[in-house]
């Protein structure tokens, strides 16, 4: 186990800079998820940590040791790839044991280690099989086993669940989380799926265009987003964003509705009011806006309603049993603590 630090990490390809000075400290045994849309630089960051690419500038420290110029095998890391990358011509046993080739362990010790990993991953019966005889989930477990067997200081996962179907993804998510609790190794996990990030991470790193937007616990990034990007990226459905102007006592929405805030942004300042569909209900709290129900999406315990407000669409949650009818007029309210105000120009939270 080891801590990991990225200091002013920059990566440039042919004059195109894809990472703009990444600074990140990851504690020993921490489970950190890098999340962001395609092209945000999360996989590049992981590849730099792994040593598969050389950083243009900046330092990477693993366990207090700068590893920039070390080969991947010398960095004491193991990586699980999106496409599993288990060798098709080798059995599960050979695949798992492959990472021990350069180890100084004796043959019986290596065998014992393979058996131990197979037991943890519940794969003892599969050791003699070839990858073509395994299901997608089993192949992914082999890939994890191959990483585990080396007992690395840091595990790197590059979107390992994105090729699995929804049910298997949920199951593997849980298994990886349990595995982390059991072995306690530092994990850096890359995904574009914010649900994966929220459910697995100790801390989430949200990236966009090669820049870290926010680092925080799942609760922090959900309840206190640093900017409009984080606010809309985290949470499904996305946070509603309503243009507004600051007033003496709060803000005034485009619809003319005044919303009183404890700390106003300042009179005349252009702002955006963010409110999550989860926090926007009929009846209770501060009135925010009114409109006509355009579409309903029943989810069982609750119903999502798409409300047409002066031509723009706002999503809110309604009762699952007795939702408002399509075409009905609704008045939506939210609690003051659930309102997020962002600067209209910079997008930063106020």
């Amino acid at each position: 186990m080891a801590n990991l630090a990225l200091r002013k990490l920059v990566q440039t390809y042919d004059k195109v800079t894809v990472l703009h000075g990444i600074d990140l400290e990851i504690g020993d045994g921490e489970f950190v998820v890098l999340v962001g849309p395609s092209g945000c630089g999360k996989s590049t960051t992981l590849r730099l940590i792994a040593g598969l690419e050389e950083a243009t500038s900046g330092d990477i420290e693993i366990g207090g040791r700068v590893v920039n110029h070390l080969e991947p095998k010398e960095r004491d890391i193991a990586m699980v790839f999106q496409n599993y990358a288990i060798y098709p011509h080798m059995t599960v046993r050979r695949n798992i044991g492959f990472g021990l080739r350069s180890s100084t362990l004796s043959r019986p010790e290596k065998d014992a280690r393979i058996e131990e990993v197979a037991k943890i991953l519940d794969m003892q019966d599969l050791l003699a099989r070839k990858p073509s005889q395994l299901s997608g989930g089993q192949r992914q477990r082999v890939a994890i086993g191959r990483a585990m067997v080396r007992d690395p200081a840091v595990f790197l996962f590059d979107e390992p669940l994105s090729n699995l179907d929804a049910q298997l993804r949920t199951q593997m998510r849980l298994e990886i989380k349990k595995l982390h609790q059991r072995v306690g190794t530092t994990i850096v996990f890359v995904t574009h799926d914010q649900v994966e990030a929220m459910t697995m991470a100790d801390r989430i790193v949200i990236m966009k265009d090669g820049v870290i937007q926010q680092v925080g616990t799942p609760a922090e990034v959900y309840h206190a987003p640093a900017n409009t990007f984080v606010a809309t990226f985290i949470g499904a459905p996305s946070m509603n964003m309503l243009p507004a102007v600051g007033t003496d006592e709060g803000i005034r929405l485009a619809s003319g509705q005044e919303v009183a805030l404890e700390r106003g942004p300042g009179a005349g300042r252009g702002v955006t009011l963010g409110v999550r569909p989860d926090d926007l209900h009929e009846g209770k709290g501060v009135p925010i806006l009114g409109g006509t129900v355009a579409v309903r999406e029943p989810l069982g315990p609750e119903t999502l309603i798409y409300v047409d407000v002066d031509g723009s669409e706002v999503i809110a949650k309604a009762d699952g049993r007795v939702p408002p009818e399509v075409g009905a007029r609704v008045e939506l309210c939210a609690r003051p603590e659930d309102l997020h105000v962002f600067d209209a120009t910079t997008g930063e939270a106020i």
Binding site: K73, N83, Y84, H89, R101, S102
Partner: protein, 291 residues
Amino acid sequence: MSDTAIRASSETLLATKAPKRPANMGQILRWLILFLGGIAMIMPIVYMLSTSLKWPHEVYDVNLVPKEPTLDNYRFVLEDGRFYGWFINSLVIATITTICNLFFDSLVGYTLCKFRFPGRYIVFIAILSTLMIPTEMLVIPWYLMSQQFGWLDTYWGIMFPGLMTAFGTFLMKQFFETVPNDFIEAARIDGLNELEIWWTVAMPLVRPALAALAIFVFLGNWTAFIWPLIVTNSVEMYTLPVGLSSFGDEADVAWELIMTGAAISTIPTLVVFLIFQRFIIRGVVMAGLKG
């Protein structure tokens, strides 16, 4: 269910089966072309076998079935000590050349495919461009080279032009393109050096290409004629095709013996094909990535 009942029900099933659609003209034409193509390919082989069973006086008759079939030609060829020498020469040359091609072509193909270095594209184009030069044009420089290095009438002299080929390099490079980089990178993280990655991870994944290349190279060298004819002087160094062409005398060519030798010489090529073709088929069903 009794036998009668089973028969009755199967007859009912057959009776209710949809009638086969009659073949249309297009299909008939395709079959006809394929049939003619098949005949065109098999005829020389049939003629070779037929001639090998004929007496010399019957060789120029066009009949496919010999009037008086004989195995005397086989006895003559197999009892002729020179034949075994030529056979061994061909076998050694074709085998060594095939092994060298598999090694060098795949190594160069892998390097050009998986490594990024300045001039990579130029090197690849330069290798490919050699495909456009016909063998006949290269024979003179090869010969001069062999003469200067003292390789005339040696195994090395026969083999050296074909130890690595542009076609093989191109074929292997294209196949290595299909090996996902994730495998290579996973092996790098697992601690393998680049040569180990090529040998342990990449090579087993391109077995179908290696098998195809092995077949092409072996057959090409087994049947090679012009260069071995030019570079060899002594009868002992002849390869099988060169040796077979020497049957007969100035007045007459012993076609029945040539055909007999050719018929015998097809055996190793069939063996090579049977050994390697299963790798081509097995390679298709391999899987290690989410696909």
